[in-house]
Symmetry: C2
Subunit: 369 residues, 2 copies
């Protein structure tokens, strides 16, 4: 149904700007026409329902339908509950895609709407509901665990190389695939990479086609040694360096460029990524992290069971020889039958590249801590 | 058009059994109904046109249409020319998918049909013509070069591993993907692998779901050291071992099991694969070879510019660690921008596996001899 689709598209447009709130879209429909549109405002407030009703004009909403991609809130947070404005506006029926992940809140919303004589229906087409569930999967994890949703992204050749032996990796994937990576960065609150990648590629780690969005760049540096040529240090946009205790010289340099740093102890040469991710959520409002190469960083995140999702781009290229492969620092499975199998795998093509999307199974050998 | 599709399907059914001839399908159509069907007979004779006309009954073909997937032959080979029986039967019009790869023969066929008052039309839908071109790509190469068409096939994890460090590779790909590999073996005249793979996996290298087809198994063995437990030596079906000169003990063993061998000199520890492939065509009637792992064999074939096509299956699995990658024995490109890019890439999914099909570019660094 087109109204469901219109609400969904508003949710997608808002994604990346609403953390730590979910991205929600809503439309007000009267006499089979959309009279108001809204999505979650930047920073998460006001909510989509409020924006859609105000956009329609509250006095025109009496007897209207409200299509909304996530169950309206019914509690006082930093905004009044959306159920209030829905009641005040005289909305007759609410058509919802996804349930509030908090069952108590969901029950309360249902009760409040019912008492006000407002019908609530979960009747978005299944395909849309699924896309919307994926869109806010970061929020659904965060709201339950207080941890960000962590995705790993890499591009590899048909030999599984993410870089040549000499470190060169530009470019493996096609322009369309790289454009999609910028979209992934837009919908992520933080983009993480290792110091080695910074030194080899000097990336900007920005969401190139989204001037409004500057994801937090998180550089994991066991040995923080950068210079002013490194965009993540000297360029504009926020950067957080994850460093071991000490590093006085580097800290001075970071202060000079107005970049953040957080000190974490190394345990047998490794950072504890679960702790790092928790701090990203608590102190930096990051509910989603996109980790991009290199081999060491990805292997550590995988080994520590700290990743939720994989985005692997495969390009129909060959370079021959050895080179750098993802996850090579993780311990190897003892048999192929014990390989970690991703679940809910989806594939998509970008020109002649294929993107594999899938979720990590946290109960297999690879992700045992 | 359904008649074109019917002819195409007959060609596909015949594929794998007609070498060194192409697989062709033909239907005779009268009053908009199919009255005869034929495809190239096993071993390549009689041809599809003959079989279709005989199947219809030659006396019923007067004024009929003939749909055929490859331009009929007009020369005396081991059979009389198909143009003869087309004329005798009184076929009015011939609808053809693909041109005879020999331009002189094509011109002659055109002339003969025209003189007999038979219209010839190349009007199969483009999509079918393309599939049929791919179906007989081995023949089209062979007829011009006298060399077989060589495809490389492997299955890899999302780290690009074709086996663990300990050699285990069972199974990387999904059952549906492995089923398709048996189809690839059916349409290949020879299936090639290395001695290491034989010792590690003890494969049967057969076309499991095609009891009528036993592709020639070709085992490349710089150091032929097998025992009676190895299916390729002791099992039924033909096997050819590629060995260096000498190896008296092995030759005795091969004779005992009625297996073939061919001696080729090693040049700096490497066989010359182009020479091997030429002998496969000349002495063993193989116009298509499917090379399946391991890393060394594939690297050598690639480096020697001897491969035409790649089939790479990618499974959404991870095992961590190092392991075995395809083409690792080939020299590495000096920059990612110099990677070899496959052309005419197609992708297909098999459950959650993706198959990349593409053609090797013979002018890039990797394939320089």
């Amino acid at each position: 149904m087109n109204f469901c689709k219109a609400a969904m598209e508003l949710a997608f447009q808002a994604k990346g700007y609403t953390s730590p709130n979910p991205a929600v879209g809503a439309v007000v429909v009267k006499n089979s026409r959309i009279i108001g549109r809204g999505s979650t405002s930047p920073g998460g407030r006001p909510h989509a329902e409020y924006n859609a009703i105000i956009n329609a004009g509250i006095s025109l909403c009496r007897g209207a339908l409200l299509y909304v991609t996530l169950e309206p809130c019914s509690h006082f947070g930093k905004t009044p509950p959306c159920t209030d404005i829905i009641k005040t506006a005289g909305i007759k029926k609410v058509i919802i895609a996804g349930k509030d992940p908090n069952p108590l809140a969901a029950a309360q919303t249902g009760r409040i709407l019912k008492q006000a004589g407002i019908t609530a229906e979960f009747s978005f087409p299944g395909e849309y509901a699924k896309k919307l569930q994926e869109l806010n999967e970061d929020f659904f994890k965060y709201i339950i665990t207080s941890e960000p949703f962590v995705s790993i992204k890499y591009a590899m050749t048909l030999e599984g190389k993410i870089a040549l032996g000499n470190g060169d990796s530009r470019w493996i994937s096609s322009p369309a695939a790289r454009c999609y990576v910028h979209y992934l960065r837009r919908i992520s609150d933080a983009v993480m990479t290792g110091a080695g990648t910074v030194r080899a590629d000097n990336p900007r780690l920005d969401a190139r086609y989204e001037i409004k969005k500057k994801p937090l760049r998180v550089i994991v540096a066991r040995n923080p040694d950068f210079n002013r040529k490194n965009h993540v240090l000297s360029g504009s946009g926020p950067t957080l360096f994850i460093i071991p205790p000490g590093c006085a010289k580097f800290k001075k340099q970071a202060d000079q460029y107005n970049k953040y740093y957080e000190e974490f102890p190394l345990d047998r040469g490794e950072f504890n990524f679960k702790k790092i991710f928790r701090v990203l959520a608590e102190k930096y409002n990051c509910i989603s992290v996109l980790a991009e190469g290199g081999g060491y960083l990805l292997g550590s995140i995988l080994t520590q069971r700290a990743a939720d999702k994989l985005y692997a781009f495969i390009a129909p290229k060959l370079t021959g020889g050895g080179g750098i492969h993802p996850f090579s620092s993780a311990p190897e499975a003892s048999a192929m039958a014990k390989a970690s199998v991703l679940y809910n795998v989806q594939t998509e093509t970008f020109e002649n590249n294929v993107l594999f999307k899938g979720y990590f199974n946290k109960n297999d050998h690879l992700s045992k801590p």
